[in-house]
């Protein structure tokens, strides 16, 4: 009898182990496929950024440059004024991110937990601001800020701060929506307990709700940073010239290299652009890798493997 039970147990364990291994294999296959699809183009860009002009026209060179050079990077760093512009851009983006977090989470919470007249219509407006194509706001915004109470605020960063503070910054509508959904998903008991203890709505919000919404706050922080960093639309609309925005510098890199630095061959110019793209991606990717450590302490219990 006992022998029989032992055999049964071994069989069960075997099934369990093989299930686990099958799952690991499956995961590996999925990740390998995705890595290939995503990194494919990026690998080409990175490798080309080290190409010398000889490599470019040598049909034998594939991915690995024969006479590699760092000239593209040194040149592009100069053209972009990399260090200075990067610091300036990041400070600006971080400030905007903090304002976004503060305003959008407040608004999201207001919509999630309170009822007031016209709530549905107002929330509909949030959706409209998400959906409305950005160029549709272009003309009115331009008119607003070229004569803002008698001042011309264009070519400064002020319009963006004003808009972000009033919840109309870059993709604010989306952040409000994300926060709204998150807060609605949190249990009400926390707040009720706080209210019973006599805490006010603001105290409850900052002390109870915000700490519980850390995952959503970090999510929005990442998006806000990346999109603001990458934003060309508002930067062009408010005309940040000179060394004010990395996004403008990057998107006009091709033109600068070919018309200002007089590199005539467009294929060669594209090598410089590749270097610029790598320089553009790196800081943001690093920030993400650091941030994600905070918001992703893994939960292995989400129930897809036993």
């Amino acid at each position: 009898m006992r022998k029989h039970a032992n055999a049964e147990g071994r069989k069960l364990r075997l099934v369990k182990a093989s299930k686990k291994w099958l799952f690991v294999l499956f995961r590996l296959a999925v990740f390998a496929g995705i890595t290939y699809t995503i990194l494919g183009p990026l690998v080409t860009i990175v490798s080309r950024s080290f190409f010398s002009t000889d490599d470019l026209y040598n049909p034998l060179v594939y991915l690995f440059p024969k006479s590699g050079t760092l000239e593209r990077y040194t040149h592009v760093m100069g053209t972009l004024n990399y260090g200075k512009v990067l610091v300036k851009t990041l400070v600006y983006d971080l400030l905007l991110m903090l304002i976004q977090l503060f305003i959008c989470s407040m608004t999201g919470y207001g919509f999630a937990r309170f009822s007031f007249p016209f709530k549905k219509i107002l929330f509909g407006m949030v959706i409209v601001t998400i959906v409305l194509p950005s160029y549709a706001v272009m003309l009115p915004l331009y008119q607003t800020f070229i004569d803002f109470g008698g001042m011309n605020l264009l070519s400064t960063h002020i319009p963006m701060y004003i808009m972000t503070f009033f919840g109309c910054g870059l993709r604010s509508g989306l952040y409000i929506y994300i926060f709204n959904q998150f807060f609605r998903g949190l249990p009400k008991e926390f707040e009720e307990a706080a209210y019973i203890d006599g805490a006010g709505a603001w105290y409850t919000y900052f002390r109870i709700m915000v700490p519980n919404a850390v995952p959503s706050i970090l999510t929005v922080a990442v998006f806000s940073l990346v999109w603001q960093y990458n934003d060309v639309f508002f930067a062009r609309l408010f005309v940040y010239g000179g060394d004010n925005a990395m996004s403008i510098k990057l998107s006009s890199l091709q033109a600068t290299i070919s018309y200002v630095d007089k590199v005539m061959d467009p294929a060669e110019v594209s090598l410089y652009v590749d270097a610029g793209v790598v320089l553009g991606i790196l800081p943001i990717l690093l920030i993400y890798v650091v941030l994600q450590r905070y918001f992703m302490e893994g939960v292995e219990r989400s129930g897809i493997v036993g």
Binding site: S115, L174, N230
Partner: protein, 303 residues
Amino acid sequence: MKKKKKMSLTTRRAITGLTFILPWLIGICLFYVRTLIQTVQFSFSKVIFRESGGIRMEFAGLQNFKYALLEHGSYNQVLVDSLVDIVIDVPLIIFFSLMMALLLNQKFRGRTLMRAILFIPVIMGAGAINDAIEIARQAVQGGIGVESAEFAQANSGVSVQYFLEIFMQLGFPGKVVDYVVEVVGRIYDVIKASGVQIIIFLAALQSVPGALYEVARIEGATSYETFWKVTFPMVSPLILTNVVYSIVDAFTESKVIETAYDVAFSSYDYGLSSAMSLISTTLVCLILLVAGGLISRKAFYYN
């Protein structure tokens, strides 16, 4: 002051709620209400640029809308195509990103690397970096094109057509095969479009209280049951968020927006362009309403 004391709890709650959304409310009135009014005005008129600068508007009734839908060369077709794309893509994106989020939420070696890789499309997908790449590519193709590795078409060596024929001969319904081919063809786009959704789902998975899983384990729930009874309901509000984002994202990337933009800034027909934006915005809002209605009914909220 006396009145304040008499206020009921609901009124007081309403006022507190309004203070929470106050900055946003001001912003909307300042920036968007005016925009919307202007867009509607434009869409019902013929906008003429004066030589002295400034604009003059002539009321044109529904002419712009009629022109956009019935006479414009490609608008109605582009509109329908984009809507069909949305209907096909969004469920795929949601399924894919939820699956990826679940996989990434586990502990395994190389997790940070994998998360970084899946984040790359978010950085490269739109904006300055995408612009830089695109402009350089166009310049190369427009100039004396060199056949560099990047532009050489890769030959996979697998004849897809051959396998398709086998499936057809096996008696698979043609429509199903077509759909599968369509889906496989879109995988690259789906992966590229899922970065944001994966991150949102990851955050949602992170905020599920661990106690719920403990309870499930103590009660002896299988992992399958745990997923459907705990994980899925807890992330369901964020499914709605992701559906909304996916729809909007698919739409902003679509040709509809491009067409309207070109009409405004290449042919300077603001009236027509505004009408086009209004049509597409209304349609998307309708889709969102339907999707929201359907999902909200299933989504789990504490209240």
